[in-house]
C-alpha cells in the first residue's frame, strides 16, 4: 500500500549526517534530458519531459511535463557535439533561454558564432515545481 511520510529532517541511523527535507527537494533536479539534436530530433532519455521541438539549426524547444513554479529556474547544460568525439573541437553552448514555467530553448553552436546542431545535447532543470 502506498504511504505518505511527513517529516522535516532526514538523518542517517548513526545521526552523523542529516538533511532537511526542504534541502533535499530543493536540490533535486526536477527535469533532465539527453537528446539527439541532428536530423530528426528525438529524446534519447529524459525525466519529466513532454517533448522537444526542432526550431532550426542549433535551436530546440524543451517542454517540461509538470510545470515549474516560476520561469526563474536554473538550467545546467552539457552533452556533446559529436557523440563519439571524433570531431569534438571547441563548440559554443548549449545555452538556455526563453524560459517559461513549461519550456525553455536550448541553443547549440559551432566553433564560430554560427548555430550548429549537436548530436547529443543535454540539460537539467533545478528549481521549484508548481
Amino acid at each position: 500500500m502506498a504511504s505518505i511520510l511527513r517529516v522535516d529532517t532526514i538523518t542517517d541511523a548513526s545521526s552523523s549526517n542529516s538533511v532537511a527535507t526542504s534541502v533535499l527537494f530543493e536540490g533535486s533536479s526536477k527535469h533532465w534530458i539527453l537528446m539527439n539534436g541532428t536530423g530528426t530530433v528525438a529524446v534519447t532519455d529524459s525525466y519529466n519531459n513532454t517533448s522537444i521541438t526542432d526550431n532550426g539549426t542549433g535551436d530546440y524547444t524543451i517542454t517540461i511535463a509538470n510545470n515549474m513554479n516560476t520561469a526563474n529556474f536554473c538550467v545546467a547544460t552539457g552533452g556533446g557535439y559529436d557523440e563519439d568525439g571524433s570531431t569534438a573541437n571547441n563548440r559554443q553552448g548549449p545555452g538556455a533561454s526563453n524560459k517559461t514555467t513549461t519550456a525553455f530553448k536550448l541553443t547549440t553552436g559551432s566553433n564560430t558564432t554560427a548555430a550548429d546542431d549537436w548530436e547529443a545535447p543535454a540539460a537539467q532543470t533545478l528549481g521549484d515545481l508548481a
Binding site: 533535486s28 526536477k30 552539457g78 557523440e83
Partner: protein
Amino acid sequence: MASQLKVDTITGVTTAGSVAVTGEGNSTTTNLQQGLAKAWFACDDMAILDSLNSAGLTDNGTGDLTLTVTNAMNNDDYSTGMGAGGSATSDGSMRLVEGADATTARTTSAIRLRQGYKATNLTMYDDSLCSIQFFGDLA
C-alpha cells in the same frame, strides 16, 4: 511540530526504486530518485577535488581526461551537466566537451572529456576547474 526521521536507506513501497515527494508549490510530486545526481566531480589540474560515486580520473594527456564512476549507470543515455573555468590563461574562455576520439564513446561507467580554451579550435589545457554531473538511472 518539527519532526526527524532517522534512517539509512529510503525505499519505495510500491516500487523500490521510486519515491515520490511533493513539490515546493504543493501541487505536484516529483520522483526523488530521478532528480538526484548519481555522480558528480569537481576537478582541478587533472585531480579530483571532491566527488560523489567516483572511481577515479584518468589523465590521458593534456586536456584529455576520463572520469569513471563506481556504481554504473543503467545505460549510456544519461544526461550530463558540465562546466569549466578558473583558467590562468589570457584567453580565459574555458570549455569542457564530451568525447576525445572516434573510438572512445561514453559507457555506463565512464565518460571521456576534452578540456581547453577557446581558439580556432579547442586548445587543450590541464589547469582548469571543471565540474560534471550525471543524471539518469543507476544500474
